[in-house]
């Protein structure tokens, strides 16, 4: 297990990153021009990395499956981005943001990475403002902030309910500038279908042009995966329809370890499922919990209209259970509390799988116009979807899969266990532990892309200046392309009876039931057998229409679902091996009256899994987590 070297620099926490930057190897400008970097994905982490690396002088090639890099799913993030600016003079600091993040992650993240994240957070805001991102401002012209879950300070910067959109368009504008100058070559409607390994190093990718179906070979001295999370393994999630694990999974099969796959975030405030036909779930921003109050009736099976239930017959359960954080308790805790209330028969709405998020008090206190200015677009979205007016009746919300803290294992340099292969943003595992705090995903994506990777990748590329670009007729490219083509042909050749979506829904059902908000040894063991069977059925009974050499949406989905099934098996393996509850991973056997019960003695480690073949037990490698600057404590928001 000695392979896992996290490469955390020596020295005190506060100076690690500064010292690192002062001593990291550099690549001189004329050599940068000869070095090619592939960036897969153009969300916050990918677009910011591609732009910043191109500005430095590297030759960059960027890829996205959407028709434009501006559409990556970072765009849907609503609430905001955290930064330790302390503009509010309310006691914020780099250490506090670091501590909140470590604690929010239930002490399962790496101290040095999280501290660095908190340290560069302030630079992100400066960068975005300089790019022309229209953040919310106060009347004096300065930047405004709001509060988010798991924090007692106001450190969240926002652009109405569209912060992700504005930050992504900022990164996209920087990327567009580099494309225009000719420093970045952009490949839209392209999907990475294989990683190319030469002599143990990542040297390129096979990408499928989704318009023509043609497989293309692309060389890079280094490959960066910024391909997001894998929440769509659950079929229903707040992810975009196209979000997938394929690039990360191909990398995993080529030697990149996958860390903590069972850490998934179930977001407490989503619009509840309304029927079998449902294709995705819609998030209602956590920022709503600044002013909305969460409640259910005290009585079981109370079917009265919310406005007919008097105040003293309502249970504002978050305020009751967590008085110091109230409605702003962290996501994992708020989600579990909602599930508990519904399991107790006090859920509302037709299905009984929902709780109220009520703005009546806020509207009384602030007036409708203030509430509208703060959350107008979210209220409109809710109204569109549910046909109910949240200004008049409380919103109905329920938890849904939203984010995955697990991902490819990376060291301090953000390099995976494959030399030359990097993972940034949600695609890696490093910063959020077992639960991510609100407004921290945007922060991490941009931190990695703007401020971390541009330094750390130089450390590797400095050793590559004598490596000439490898021609893509190299046997390794032949082999990788052949493998990709064979898989596509295999999918088309099954010609079975069940549709891809049918399998995807079956997968999602298993994952939600047994590897969702509550997990048990018994359930997970059952899920293992079910997933194996589902995988076998998929490859013998899936029906994929159309051909390989054309735009074929059915084929695209089939490849992604095939990878999701294998990932699901690994998630279950991981969940089963972690005999404790922490953050989003709640094992019913390990609890204190509904609160997660960690076991720091035996499980204060990162579980990094090595692929050993499909259907084979993956090998577990452990990276022990050392806490030198914070005291391990029971996470309390009471």
């Amino acid at each position: 297990m000695s392979v896992l070297d996290s490469k955390i620099p020596d020295g005190p926490l506060e100076t690690k990153w500064t010292d690192y930057k002062s001593h990291v190897k550099l690549v001189n400008p004329s050599n940068k021009r000869k070095l090619e970097v592939i960036v897969v994905g153009t969300g916050l982490a990918g677009a910011s990395a591609a732009a910043s690396l191109a500005e430095l002088g590297y030759k960059v090639k960027a890829y996205c499956y959407q028709d434009s890099p501006r559409r990556a799913h970072s765009i849907a993030a609503q609430g905001g981005i955290n930064a330790a600016k302390n503009y509010k003079n309310d006691g914020d600091s780099v250490f506090r943001l670091f501590y909140d993040t470590i604690k929010g992650g239930d002490f399962r993240a790496r101290e040095a990475n999280v501290y660095r994240l908190a340290e560069v957070s302030a630079n992100i805001i400066d960068q975005c403002v300089a790019q022309g991102v229209p953040f919310a401002r106060e009347y004096g012209g300065l930047l405004d902030n709001r509060s988010f879950g798991g924090a007692q300070v106001s450190r969240t910067f926002y652009a109405r309910g569209q912060t992700g959109q504005q930050l992504l368009l900022g990164a996209y504008s920087a990327l567009s500038r580099q494309i225009g100058i000719g420093n970045v070559e952009m490949f839209s409607r392209h999907e990475m279908v294989e990683l190319v390994n030469i002599d143990g190093k990542a040297r390129g990718i096979i990408a499928r042009d989704l318009k023509t179906g043609k497989l293309e070979r692309h060389f890079g001295h280094a490959v960066v995966l910024a391909t997001g999370g894998y929440g769509n393994v659950f079929f229903l999630s707040t992810n975009a329809m196209g979000c997938n694990v394929t690039a990360a999974w191909k990398a995993h099969k080529q030697g990149a370890f996958f860390a903590n796959p069972c850490y998934t975030q179930i977001h407490p405030t989503c619009i509840p499922v309304s029927g079998d036909y449902q294709s995705k779930l819609t998030l209602m921003s956590e920022s709503l919990r600044n002013d909305g109050r969460v409640w259910v009736p005290k009585k079981q099976g109370d079917k009265r209209k919310p406005q007919d239930i008097p105040e003293d017959e309502r249970d504002y359960y978050l305020e009751r259970k967590y008085p110091s954080f109230g409605n702003l308790a962290p996501r994992d805790i708020a989600s579990r509390a909602a599930k508990e209330a519904c399991d107790d028969g006090r859920g509302v709405g037709e299905s009984g799988l929902a709780v109220y998020l009520d703005f009546a008090d806020a509207i009384k206190r602030l007036g409708k116009s203030v509430v509208e200015a703060r959350y107008g677009n979210l209220f409109d979205m809710y109204h569109h979807i549910t046909n109910e007016d949240p200004y008049e009746v409380p919103m109905r919300i329920y938890p849904a899969v939203h984010y995955t803290m697990g991902g490819l294992w990376v060291d301090y340099n953000l390099m995976t266990t494959v030399p030359g292969l990097y993972a940034t943003g949600e695609c890696n595992f490093s910063d959020h532990g077992a639960n991510r705090l609100g407004a921290s995903a945007l922060m991490q994506g941009l931190a990695d892309g703007y401020f971390v990777l541009p330094y750390t990748i130089g450390d590797y590329l400095a050793g590559e200046i004598f490596t000439k670009s490898i021609p893509t007729d190299h046997p390794a490219f032949d082999a990788a392309e052949k493998a990709a083509a064979e898989r596509i042909n295999k999918l088309l050749a099954v010609k079975g009876n069940r549709t891809v979506d049918d399998f995807h829904k079956a997968l999602g059902k298993i994952m939600w039931e047994y590897c969702g908000m509550a997990r048990s040894s018994e359930g997970l063991t059952k899920a293992q057998a079910m997933l194996k069977q589902l995988r076998e059925e998929f490859w013998s009974d899936v029906r994929v229409t159309g051909g390989a050499n054309e735009l074929n949406v059915d084929l695209e989905k089939a490849g992604r679902v095939a990878d999701f099934i294998e990932l699901g098996e690994l998630m279950v393996t991981d969940a089963l091996s972690r005999n404790e509850s922490c953050g989003g991973h709640f094992r019913v056997e390990y609890q204190d009256e509904g609160e997660a019960k960690r076991n720091d003695q035996d499980y204060a480690y990162v579980a990094a899994w090595e692929h050993k073949g499909v259907g084979q037990q993956a090998a577990l490698h452990k990276e022990a987590l050392k806490f030198e600057n914070v005291k391990l404590a029971t996470r309390s928001y009471k």
Binding site: I75, N123, D126, C128, P134, Q162, S173, S279
Partner: protein, 246 residues
């Protein structure tokens, strides 16, 4: 609910396309329009036919990827709504629904309802940015912005780049899209430095891509799912003229 669908099918960019009739039954009023399309596609796949290709991704009305022309209107009958946020309750049981791709010379069809909107990206690449490299910036609060201007800039920046404005315009003009981006930067101090070069370059590229001139009819604003105001085009024109003569 039951619907008669007339959908544009086109195998690829070269092939001739045509409207094809489908009927679909047992549709729930709370289904989204795209979920109705999912149901249709599942039926087609079960019958061994190829599903209808259409662009979509976030299904939350923010990514700008969905792009259908429904009953003659981009994104369908509701104002301020993308196709993905349209629900079947917005249609009448038994209705015939016409579904076509966005039509414009600058948006060539790739397949069925999927069109190529990369012209928008190319317009952005010639000037849709502030030329600032990562790291070379000052503290964010050193650039105060008048709140009213910041709010107007945000209104303009809400554009999702879907192209409905182009599809709605009888000249297939991209003026609303370009005007929104020009306005966002023109209203902010960060964007003023390059304002002149930006507007000249972006307007020129818009012409190069084959988009037509503004008709002044306001169809773009009426069909924009994000309510981007026509005043952004006026601001673009003002910026353009002042850049041209100074």
């Amino acid at each position: 609910m039951k619907f008669n669908l007339k959908i544009w099918r086109q195998k690829n960019a070269q092939a001739a396309g045509k409207m094809v009739d489908y009927t679909i039954d047992n549709i729930n009023a709370d289904m989204s329009f795209l979920e109705m399309m999912d149901v249709l596609n599942e039926e087609l796949i079960r019958k061994g036919e190829e599903p209808v290709a259409f662009d979509h991704d976030c299904r939350e009305g923010i990514c700008g990827m969905c792009s259908m022309h429904i009953n003659g209107r981009p994104h369908g009958p509701l104002r301020g709504t993308t196709t993905c946020q349209l629900y079947m309750r917005n249609f009448t049981d038994g209705e015939t629904i016409y579904i076509e791709p966005f039509r414009a010379n600058a948006f060539p069809i790739i397949r069925d309802l999927v069109v190529d909107r990369s012209a928008f990206d190319r317009i952005m690449q010639v000037g849709g940015f502030v030329s600032v490299n990562t790291g070379q910036v000052q503290d964010a609060n050193n650039i105060p912005v008048v709140k009213a201007d910041a709010d107007l800039a945000m209104d303009a920046a809400s554009c999702i780049g879907c192209g409905a404005c182009v599809a709605a315009c009888k000249n297939a003009s991209a003026s609303l899209f370009v005007g929104a981006k020009i306005s966002q930067y023109a209203l902010l101090p960060q964007g003023r430095i390059e304002a002149k070069e930006r507007v000249l370059a972006m307007v020129n590229q818009m012409d190069e891509e084959g988009f037509g001139s503004c008709t002044n009819t306001g169809a773009c604003e009426a069909e924009c799912p994000k309510g981007i105001s026509l005043s952004n085009i006026a601001r673009m024109n003002r910026e353009y003229y002042s850049a041209s003569i100074s």
